[in-house]
């Protein structure tokens, strides 16, 4: 079991059938299967959460919330469909909700203005930060979330628009702007 679980730590889509099998078993109440499912996806979920929130503690909290939401929703998973798109969509929803709650709890933090957003301008970048990660950390979270949902989790523009409660054209505009900002940051760093 552990051998094939390690495979799941790679790119999205790898180990789809293994993930689906574990999800089906976990949905029947198999606690060991659920723990295996968590182990299979914990690195990717935590990594996504860390790129999104830029705070290791918050990222761990969000990752945990994603898995617990998964646990509660497993009975709704249709084994005839692919597990990962369903799971990443669920993770995206939890992430969007999480930031809304977080910012509501810390009043004065604006989602729109990245300069005021501690999650957008966290100077203390996590250990092992790549150039891309560092550039991401300087993006406003309102740009970062669609970017991660679309390019990292593979959600469609329509799905991103639905989750971020926006329009497809607004999502495209933010993606364009986010990529341009990343491009400039990386270009400056690599010169």
């Amino acid at each position: 079991m552990d051998d094939h679980l390690r495979i799941l730590g790679g790119k999205p889509g790898q180990g789809e059938s293994a993930g689906r099998d574990l999800a089906v078993r976990a949905a029947t109440g198999d606690a060991d299967a659920f723990e295996s499912l968590v182990r299979a996806y914990e690195r990717r979920v935590y990594g996504f959460a860390l790129r999104y929130l830029r705070d290791p503690h918050e990222a761990a909290d969000l990752a945990q919330e994603i898995f617990l939401r998964l646990y509660r929703k497993l009975d709704r998973f249709d084994p005839a469909r692919q597990f990962e798109p369903w799971f990443w969509k669920l993770a995206a929803r939890v992430s969007a909700d999480y930031l809304v709650r977080l910012t509501a709890a810390r009043r004065g933090v604006s989602l729109e203005d990245g300069r005021e957003d501690r999650y957008a301008t966290n100077d203390a970048a996590p250990t092992g930060e790549t150039a891309l990660g560092s550039a991401l950390s300087r993006l406003p979270v309102s740009y970062r979330l669609p970017l991660l949902l679309h390019y990292e989790l593979g959600l469609t523009l329509h799905e991103v628009a639905e989750i971020t409660e926006s329009t497809v054209s607004a999502v495209k505009s933010r993606l364009h702007r986010a990529r341009l900002d990343l491009q400039r940051e990386l270009h400056r760093e690599l010169l």
Binding site: G9, K11, P12, G29, A31, F34, E35, V38, R39, E42, R43, R44, V45, Y46, G47, F48, L50, R51, P56, A60, A63, Q64, F67, L68, Y71, R72, P126, T127, G128, T130, L132, G133, L147, L148, Y151, E152, G154, H176, R179, L180, L182, Q183, R184, L186, H187, L190
Partner: protein, 244 residues
């Protein structure tokens, strides 16, 4: 063309959204400008880098912590479901028992003497005591305050229906000394008018029936007796505490 303008158009160019003369101008600039070619390479790499990020390790024991919390959720959920199931069972059992009690009250055992009991009347004798009094034991019929022969017209509270109203007939019950007549389901009997302004005790059907009690099988001329609560020092017309 300025490098800034070209570089700002690179995402659109990479997405294939820059056709026509603008696209050709950008391509021409890229061919001549190494800085912008470098920016173009970086812009092209961003989606790939985002899709294949380097994932750090989560905190130690992350998976086991999550699994433990999930088990706790499962136990709580199971506990709630069990409590719900027990509650439903108790409610269902209680309703069944109540129905059985009412039904048993209406259909006494064969062999007892028939006594007039209103069809909707619950048990005749109260099981709870008035404030300050002990729960009553069932006294003999002769010692009760105002036993009314079932055949006699009984005063009823002013709120009871006037003559001509339709009232369910009493369900006959069986005495020990007589054969139980066939139970008629429901009949219609007239109800005597209540004495206006008077405070009358609610008639009660004695239990166990005295020998003088006679069955009231005839629905035509027999008023419906109403069960009486435990006799108090002063007559009262309060609602029957056990009548629904």
């Amino acid at each position: 063309m300025e490098c800034d303008l070209v570089q700002s158009l690179l995402p659109a160019l990479l997405d294939g959204e820059l056709d026509g003369p603008a696209g050709r101008l950008v391509q021409a600039h890229l061919a001549a400008c190494p800085t912008c070619r470098r920016a173009h390479a970086i812009a092209g790499a961003i989606p790939r880098l985002l899709a294949n990020p380097a994932n750090p390790d989560p905190p130690a024991s992350f998976a086991s912590d999550v699994a433990r919390k999930a088990r706790r959720i499962h136990r709580r959920s199971s506990g709630r479901n069990a409590i719900l199931a027990v509650a439903v069972a108790v409610l269902a059992g209680g309703a069944g028992a109540a129905w059985a009690a009412v039904w048993t009250e209406r259909v006494p055992p064969t062999g007892s003497s028939p006594v007039a009991v209103a069809p909707d009347s619950p048990p005749v004798w109260p099981t709870t005591a008035p404030p300050g009094r002990a729960a009553p034991a069932m006294p003999p019929a002769s010692s009760r305050s105002t036993p009314q022969p079932p055949a006699a017209p009984a005063p009823v509270p002013a709120s009871t229906p006037t003559p001509g109203d339709l009232t369910p007939a009493p369900a006959p019950t069986c005495g020990s000394s007589k054969a139980c007549p066939a139970l008629s389901p429901i009949a219609v009997v007239p109800v005597s008018p209540a004495p206006t302004g008077s405070v009358a005790p609610v008639p009660i059907t004695p239990w166990p029936p005295s020998p003088s009690d006679t069955p009231t099988p005839s629905p035509s001329d027999t008023p419906a007796p109403t069960p009486e609560p435990f006799p108090t020092d002063s007559p009262s017309v309060g609602p029957d505490p056990i009548t629904p």
